[in-house]
């Protein structure tokens, strides 16, 4: 009995879905928009996380040492700094390496090259390039150096100069996160309401049929079943369509986005996380379809 009923509910749901093609198409269309939004929010969040991480990666600090110091002295300082928990990486840049980099960077600029030649010696200082785990930790590292005995060896700490840039990155990432959250919540609410209303209209259309079904003696679950099944179908179709759109769209968008955010291929990310994305879409699509149908039909099933 239960299996027969289940089969009948599914069959009736499928027939209704097919026969009211226009309405089903409209519902799927709205759901595609909603699921696309959910997927976009997920991908945008991952992209911004990658962007923030790569920006933070670019933040570093330099400690320049007085000219007379030998490389051994500097390496002792390097070892000390490496022991700090805040420090991720310390690189020693000798005076020669610094000169090589400087010449490489400015070889097109004749004025600089001429004045360097006229000087007749290497004016650059040896340095330690420090990368912290977190951008907030540079201040601590900087004050550690100022308070330590090696402060006498240090010519300058290139942190104050970069401080404003670091602060800017912080406020930028905070703003990106904040804006992301606000937009996500706003859009999600609008999308859910629109999808819910579409389903509600579809069921409103069927209110007289629901009433008749009750009058001839159908139990509430037998009436509700086909509508829920149609909600599931609309959700599944919408997920399939959205997957196709995103698959094709990101395949072509990927290389363009990689120019803006080097090292990030959104298509590879999409393919790599396809199961998670599918899960998000199924929860959004099928969940929305079923919950909307359930709530919308409840009104007409009250005795």
């Amino acid at each position: 009995m239960f299996l027969i009923s289940l089969k009948r509910i599914a069959k009736s749901g499928w027939k209704g879905f097919r026969r009211q093609g226009g309405l089903s198409f409209a519902t799927i269309f709205i759901m595609v928009l909603t699921i696309s939004l959910a997927t976009s929010m997920f991908l945008a969040q991952k992209t911004s996380q990658f962007l923030v991480a790569s920006l933070k990666e670019k933040v570093d600090m330099y400690i320049y040492f007085k000219q007379e110091l030998s490389s051994d002295d500097i390496l002792i300082v390097k070892d000390e700094l490496s022991k700090m928990p805040e420090v991720k990486e310390v690189l020693y840049v000798s005076r020669e390496e610094a000169l090589d980099k400087f010449t490489e960077r400015h070889k097109e600029d004749e004025a600089i090259m001429d004045s360097l030649e006229e000087l007749g010696r290497n004016p650059l200082l040896a340095s330690l390039n420090i990368k912290a785990w977190e951008a907030t930790q540079y201040a601590a590292i900087s004050s550690f150096i100022t308070d330590s005995p090696f402060n006498d060896l240090v010519a300058k700490v290139d942190y104050q100069q970069k401080k404003s840039a670091i602060d800017k990155i912080f406020s930028l990432t905070d703003s990106i996160n904040m804006a992301g959250i606000v937009f996500s919540i706003g859009f999600a609410l609008v999308a859910i309401l629109v999808a819910f209303n579409t389903v509600r209209l579809a069921i409103y259309n069927a209110r007289e049929e629901i009433e008749t079904m009750r009058l001839v003696g159908a139990a509430n679950w037998f009436i509700r079943g086909p509508f829920l099944f149609q909600g599931i179908l609309a959700g599944l179709f919408a997920v399939a369509v959205t997957m196709l759109i995103f698959g094709i769209g990101l395949y072509f968008l990927g290389p363009h986005l990689a120019i803006l955010i080097p090292g990030f291929n959104i298509f590879s990310y999409f393919i790599g996380n396809i199961l998670l994305i599918l899960l998000i879409q199924l929860v959004a699509g099928v969940g929305l379809g079923v919950i909307s149908s359930w709530i919308a039909i409840r009104k007409y099933l009250k005795a």
Binding site: M1, K15, R19, E209, E211, V216, F222
Partner: protein, 229 residues
């Protein structure tokens, strides 16, 4: 079997309340064929709606086999309604289902097998002259065909009671005669029939019990009644 006890129904819509039924009391025995006659607005349809528990009376009670139908719990209500085959004045066919599916619906609800459903539906559609229309949708049918589809749906599950609200309103004399004959045959097999109509010829040829309503009140209740308003 069915007992209407002091039924009053007042609709409180618009400026002044409309009294559809006033202190209506009568009983119907099992296997009876009762015609309810009266002008439009006399309260015939309201009486049927109240019996189906589609609406609640303002006061009074309706008993079916000793059970107050308005006190049946909502989860039990479908089982009560399955014992009734109703032909609605406005047909109430399911627009997204074919004639075959409309007639089969109640059997599906009751859990009949596909074989039983197909056998019975084919038979009932033949009896009501709709075999050719089995795969059409209600909107593709004429008024008379819709009415016959509604009748087929009311009969299919062999209910204990048939409530027929103007079941011949849109039928030509030939089909009218056929449907009334069908209701009579079903009644002779033991089914209780309540027929609301204002077709004089039907009432006069039936020679069965007639309850006459006027402005919501019973003005006549005769064992072998005639049509008189």
């Amino acid at each position: 079997m069915i007992s209407f006890q002091n039924i009053t129904k007042v609709y409180k819509s618009g400026i002044s309340p409309i009294s559809a039924l006033e202190d209506v009391s009568f009983e119907i025995n099992q296997g009876e064929f009762v015609s309810i006659v009266g002008r439009s607005g006399a309260g015939k349809t309201t009486l049927f709606k109240l019996f189906l528990a589609e609406e609640k009376p303002t006061s009074g009670q309706i008993f079916y086999e000793g059970q107050d139908v308005h006190k049946i719990k909502s989860e039990q209500l479908p089982y009560f309604r399955r014992r009734i085959g109703a032909v609605f004045q406005d047909y109430k066919l399911l627009g997204t289902k074919t004639v075959h599916e409309n007639v089969a619906y109640i059997m599906e609800v009751m859990g009949a097998t596909e074989r039983e459903i197909n056998k019975d539906v084919t038979k009932v559609l033949e009896i009501t002259g709709l075999a050719e229309r089995a795969n059409n949708f209600p909107e593709e049918l004429s008024g008379g065909e819709r009415q016959r589809a509604a009748i087929a749906r009311a009969l299919i599950h062999r209910p204990d009671i048939i409530l027929a609200d103007e079941p011949t309103g849109n039928l030509d004399p030939f089909h009218t005669k056929e449907i009334i004959k069908l209701l009579d045959t079903i009644n002779q097999m033991g089914t209780t029939v309540l027929l609301a109509t204002h077709n004089k010829d039907i009432i006069n040829t039936l020679k069965k019990r007639v309850v006459t309503l006027e402005q919501g009140r019973i003005i006549r209740d005769e064992e072998r009644g005639k049509f008189a308003l």
